[in-house]
Structures are given as C-alpha cells and as structure tokens.
Symmetry: C2
Subunit: 339 residues, 2 copies
C-alpha cells in the first residue's frame, strides 16, 4: 500500500472509530478522542479507579476460534469487571490496539460491534486509545471509574470470622471454551486446523452454553450495590480462576479461608475443577461480617455463601477446600500470566 | 517450566516490580499496585487527563538496536509528553507489558531501570498495569495527570493571526536513530545482523548525538508554565513528526499555517527533512495570540517562533512551507500507525 493511501486508510479508520465513540453518552467526559489526552471530571466527593488489562492473540483469545464480536466484548468486560470489584461506576474506557494489517478492516468493525454493544449497555464512552500495526493482535483496555471517597471495595479487608460469597455461578466460561473447541473440531474437515464454528450450525441449546465464555457479564450493578450499602469487607473478581483470585484476596487481607465444595454454585455442564480453576467467569467474590444481611439475590443475580475466612497459617496455602473427602489445601491453579 | 515454578517466578517478578513502584512518592495515589484498580484523588478544582500509547517491538523500538533502558525511558516519555502537551502535571502511570519469556529476567530489570529513572525525575508513581507472555514485546503506557478545570491546553484553539512556536529543537531523534543504525552496522561483522552498539565503543562525542533519540526529554515544565499563564491558544507534542502533528493541530482548530523553514531550530547534525518529518522529538508545538509575551526560554529550554496561523483553505493541505524556494504545500510525512 502506498504512503498516501496508507495514511488515508488510517485516517478513515480513526474517523470511523471516533464517530462510533462519539455516540456514547458521557456526562463525566469533558474531552474525548482527538487531543493529546482525554479530560475527565469527577464529583469532588469521588476518587478515581483505574485498571488496565492486556489481551494477546494466542493467549487470551484465539483468532481462529473466537468471533471478533466476542473478542471486543471480552476485552471490555475484563476492564469493567475490575471496576465492579471495586464498587466503582464506569466513567470512560481507553483502548490501545495493535493489529496485523489484514485485521484492520471488516474484522475490526466486528470487534467494535461487540465492544460498543457492551459499552452502550453500561453507558461507558470510549474516550481515547492508540492504534498501531503489529505482527500479533493485542488489545490493552483501560477503564476509569468513580467511587465515593473511602468507599471502594478492597481486597484487603477480609477478617477471620467473615463469610465468603460469590455472585452467579462458576465454571461456565471454562466449560463454554471446552464446548467451543469441540464444536470447532467437529465442523472441521479431518487434517485441517479447527476454525470458528459457524453460528447457524451451532444447535440452539448449545449457544446458551457458549455465552458465559463468549459474552461474560461484568457484575457492575452488584459491585455498586455492595459499595453503597457498605456491607462487604473485601472483594475481587474471578478473572484468573477462583483458586487464584481467592488466594490473592487472602494474601492482601493476611487471612486464610475454608472453601465449601458442596456450596459452590457450579454452572450447569461445568465440572468442579472448572469452577475452582477455570477463570474468566467475571463473577464477584466478596466477604462480609456475619452480622451483615446479604440477600439471596442482588440486582437479579443469585448470591451464594461458599466459605468462611479464618486466620492465616504461616507457610500454608491460604485456601482449605472442605469436601466429602475431607479438608485439603487448594493450590492456586488458575490463569498464569507467564506459563 | 513447571506450573509451580512458573507461578513462583511470576509472583517474584510482580513482587519486584511492586517494590520498585512503591519507592515513588505519590501524593495523589491512595491505592497503588495490588488491588483490582488503583485509586487516585485529585483536588476538587482539577480535572483528570488520560493518555495511552502503545509501543511494539520491530515498530516503535528494535530489540537488536535499542538498550532496554532506552526502551523503558521512551515508553514512559511518550506518555509524559502527552501530559506536557495538555499542561497537566503527572499523577500516576500504568504499564501493560507483553513479553517473550526470555525478556522477563535481566532485560526487564534494565527496562525498569530506564523507566524508573525518568519516573523518579518527574515524581510519577507506577500505580498499576498488567503483565503477560507474548510472542512479540509490547508495552502500553497509560499516564494520568491533573490540570485545573478549563485550563488544559487543547489542539483546537489556534486562530488565524496567532503565532506558532516550538520548544527546543527538531530532527535530533531522527538523526540519532540514523547514527545508531550506522554505529551498529560498523561494529558488526560482515554478513551478520547489526546489533546494539557497545556503549564503551561509542566515541564520547557521538553519545550526545544519540541522546535525543535514546533518552528524549518530555517538556512537562514548559507545558505547565504555558498552562499556568494562559498564554497558549493551542498545543500538541511532536511525536509523529512536525508535518503530521502540526496538521493535527490545524485540523482540530480548523485553520491553516505558514511554516517558516529558515526559522526552524534544526538539531545540530540533523537535516531539514528530519526536522520536518522525523518525529519522536517530544518537543511542544504551541500557538499564541500576537499580544502574548512569549519569552525566549521557558524553564531553561529555548523557544522559537516558526510560523503563523492562517485561514484554512478548503481541500488544501493545512501547512504551507515558506522557504528560499518559495511557498509549497507540505504534506504530512511523519509516523503512520498503519503503513
């Protein structure tokens, strides 16, 4: 491609993104895409929550397996889920994309279809970002959110005696991914690499099974509810897997936990192992003192009591899994950033 | 590598980064690395500036050519320069890194040596980020800054009759890169790929020539000075190249510009072409009404008057270059994100 058409193509691409981004309502955004920085305004009583999550092709998503809409949705969902875990309301998103040239057309439009569908649902404007050619597709999502001063849900507030809860259910994303791989393999001629299953060839009853993996729902309403009522002593989202994220919460709080296997809300079709280690469910894990009145549902989503916080024991794994087989230490076996 | 040692290695790596990050002073940072989000507090009279910049190996930096300290420095400098162009003071940085496994040890330590040297100089804490294994090294830098409400320097305020200024000088980064490539080639055996020149083998007088490319200085003090005095009508930083960034400023302001070739402060050893199109100088380009009293130096850095804002002409390039050869339209020929 010539220099001139390369530049024109790039400007046209940026103009399309900017136009789509400008369609979002944005009460806290004073200046969006188009300057050196975006400008955000908070209420004086608020502090700003910031999180970044890097997604890389071949690692966090598979170009041959995932529809672009799902990759766009999941990229944004990862960031929104971090805001949910702090009890913050979303203010603005920023997206840095590195893409191979061949993905900069139709694929990118479909990526943004998925991205903006979720952004609109949660009224999050895209306020900036960066775009570059890259040999590997990468997407770094930045979410900013607002939370009243000193009210954010932290990982560090769990104390012995507090109870452990989780929203929704676990293992659905891991089970969905396994199902997606199976479908792709079944629709692929022998000897060829499995490719994205064709939507029209996916039996209707299986589509629902894929949703927790392809289109996970960040628990923003539940995080806000808990923050406003001041009931939760600690919170984290289940992104890397229950065994890994619960260990983070315990480490930051300096406590241990007894996890009740029989109480875990396992997604239909998922295994206990997928619920314990699968990751990407984007449910909220939170603790509260026994005196707190935690309802059975928050904003329509079931809440389950799944364990109790105990004292940390030096040198021991923080998580003890209690099951019909007895009590056993549970090592973190979820997602590893380097593995 | 086994699962267990992979996790231990990763935790140790994160712990080292967290320890280094915690050494920064951070008055506006209520919560840094270690939770789902960082928490920032601004003064009620301030708004928040946010910028993200993606750097990719082979495109924004060359692993075989650039010392890791320089890559760390330049990654942060790109973000700081965007804050400078808004007149914002830095509040906190966030860094998402995707790295091939073999770079996660010594290389990464040296990357952070360069990163934190510049961060300390400008008192910017590293407040969060993400880390993942990646087939290609990528670094996405996010900078947050604070600026008094309605005082930020924007790209959109230039008006016909205003004068155009630039800080420091131009073309030094492009000339330095050319010099670096030459040095690398000269130190490499015939038939082998050029590699990083050995510092001890670089003649002392050449080291200074490489600095504008390897260790560019973001103009934070100059941006703050202009913001506080309210003298500048528009500003942008020279990251993609004068011809490209000046066109952005003109587009956002809806104006044209007459650029005086003879007035351009060209870095010693650089060519006019490098000054016009080279990029990565991270100088500030700004406009001011003729009534504004712009000094010859701001915070120790020379300021040059290099042109005048004029009315936009429909369908024409916004920049007219005035030189001894006459007046000619100057097409943007700087950095392209897709090329």
């Amino acid at each position: 491609m010539s220099t001139a058409s390369g530049r024109n193509g790039e400007l046209a691409l940026l103009a399309r993104i900017r136009k789509r981004a400008a369609m979002q309502p944005a009460p806290n955004l004073r200046l969006g895409i188009g300057d050196d920085c975006a400008l955000l305004r908070l209420r004086p009583s608020e502090e700003l929550a910031v999180t970044t999550d890097l997604s890389i092709a071949g690692r966090h998503f598979q170009l041959h397996l995932h529809p672009p809409e799902s990759i766009g949705h999941r990229t944004l969902a990862r960031g929104l889920s971090d805001l949910a875990a702090m009890g913050a309301r979303p203010v603005a998103a920023f997206l840095s994309l590195g893409l191979p040239r061949q993905l900069a057309g139709k694929w990118l439009e479909r990526f943004f279809d998925g991205f903006f569908a979720l952004a609109n649902e949660h009224k999050v404007p895209l306020a900036g970002g960066d775009l570059a050619e890259s040999p590997v597709a990468v997407a770094d999502i930045v979410l900013t959110g607002a939370v009243p001063r000193a009210k954010a849900l932290l990982r560090s507030g769990a104390r012995p005696g507090h109870l452990l809860y989780v929203t929704g259910n676990l293992g659905g994303a891991a089970a969905g991914l396994a199902q997606l791989k199976k479908l792709a393999a079944a629709q692929t001629a022998p000897g060829r690499r499995a490719a994205q299953p064709k939507p029209e060839k996916i039996p209707a009853k299986l589509r629902g099974n894929l949703a927790p993996h392809l289109y996970p729902q960040p628990r923003l309403a539940q995080g806000l509810w808990l923050m406003r009522r001041g009931l939760a002593s600690a919170a984290i989202d289940v992104s890397d897997g229950l065994s890994t994220d619960l260990a983070h919460l315990c480490d930051e709080s300096g406590v241990g936990v007894k996890l009740l296997a029989a109480s875990l809300p396992i997604h239909s079709g998922a295994t206990l192992q997928q619920a314990l280690h699968g990751g990407e469910d984007y449910e909220l894990l939170f603790t509260a003192p026994p005196s707190a009145s935690i309802p059975r549902r928050i904003a329509g989503v079931p809440i389950h009591h799944i364990g109790s916080i105990v004292r940390a024991r030096a040198g021991a794994h923080p998580i003890t899994l209690i099951s019909h087989r007895g009590s056993h230490p549970l090592a973190p076996r979820g997602w590893q950033h380097f593995s």
